[in-house]
Amino acid sequence: MEIEAEANPMDKYLRADRIPHIWCPGCGLGIVLNAFLHAIDELKIDMDELAIVSGIGCTGRIAGYINCDSYHTTHGRAIPFATGLRLANPEMKVVVISGDGDLFAIGGNHFIHAARRNIDITVIGVNNYNYGMTGGQLGPTTPLGARTTTSPYGNVEHPFNLCHVAHASGAVYVARWTVLHAVRLKNSIKEAMNKNGFSFIEVIAACPTTYGRRNKMPTGLDEMKYYREHSIIRHGIDPSQANIEIGKDIIVGKFIDIEKPTYSDAFEELKKRVKK
């Protein structure tokens, strides 16, 4: 039976007065938010013990929609902000949700060093291959050959493979999903949030408005169909073997899941040793 409704069960985690959100029709960001809310619902997380930190960009708007301590920081600085929160309050679960440009261009150094130190936070990096908010400029994940406002004849810069960057920098948990894999993404978010140490999930999401329509995928649905036909799940694969190239299959899955002392663990150890 079809029933007309006024509210969604997930509204309890949202600042529902801000819905509808600002994202374009067919944008993948709503699915990332949705998967995240389903994950915290299943984990039964106390919203008073959860902090969400975003940087700037369309993805950066996610924090503002979640009804907990959520911070919209300056461009590129979500991770140092989250590091401070995490070290000051070890009880708190701290999750960074931000875009490819925010986390890997202007904020790239923060990412690699937080992963190297094994700061106990979860980073969800939404890769839509461009700077959506500012009109679709080329960014560090734009695939070779892709057309953007600043590469109208095709991109000639080699992109980052974000999962490879995360692994090489020391992350203890690394996974990649597209937004079509919403259920697997939700499960991965749960796993990552329960993981001790720096966990990273790359989410491939459509940005039809500023990226897709310049790259022969003018609607979100076009891109979702591409994910259906071209995603291959390869758990445990070396992330260096999972580059993203135009027209090729997208390799997704849980690539890395290892144990390593976190920064906080090591620091507590040190304190004990020095105080003796």
């Binding site: 039976m1 079809e2 029933i3 007309e4 409704a5 006024e6 509210a7 969604n8 069960p9 997930m10 509204d11 949202l14 819905i19 509808p20 959100h21 994202w23 374009c24 029709p25 067919g26 944008c27 993948g28 960001l29 709503g30 699915i31 938010l33 949705n34 998967a35 389903h38 937004v179 079509l180 919403a182 259920v183 939700k186 609607t219 979100g220 649905l221 979702m224 169909k225 259906r228």
Partner: protein, 88 residues
């Protein structure tokens, strides 16, 4: 022969809730519903989009998997399972 017990199948069925004014007509729920029970409607919502509608038949029914609600970017659709009485 009373030891032949006929298997009684429990039919899982679910209600589909649609918040029409939130829909931006991305088409994801319609395309990816594994049962194919959603369809674009003729009606306009307050933003000028056509929200989805449910079109169940005798053989194609919502089974309450909830995938539409997982991939809806706009929190505009969800399902609730309802366990129907046993068949027969």
């Amino acid at each position: 022969m009373n030891y032949w017990v006929e298997k009684k199948e429990k039919q899982i069925h679910a209600n589909v809730f649609i918040i029409k004014d939130r829909c931006k007509e991305c088409g994801f729920c319609i395309e990816f519903c594994p049962q194919g029970v959603l369809k674009v409607s003729e009606e306009f919502n307050s933003k000028g989009y056509h929200p989805p509608k449910l079109v169940e038949t005798e053989t194609k029914k919502c089974i309450g998997c909830g995938f539409c609600s997982m991939i809806c970017p706009d929190f505009a659709i969800f399902v609730e399972k309802e366990e129907e009485n046993e068949k027969n």
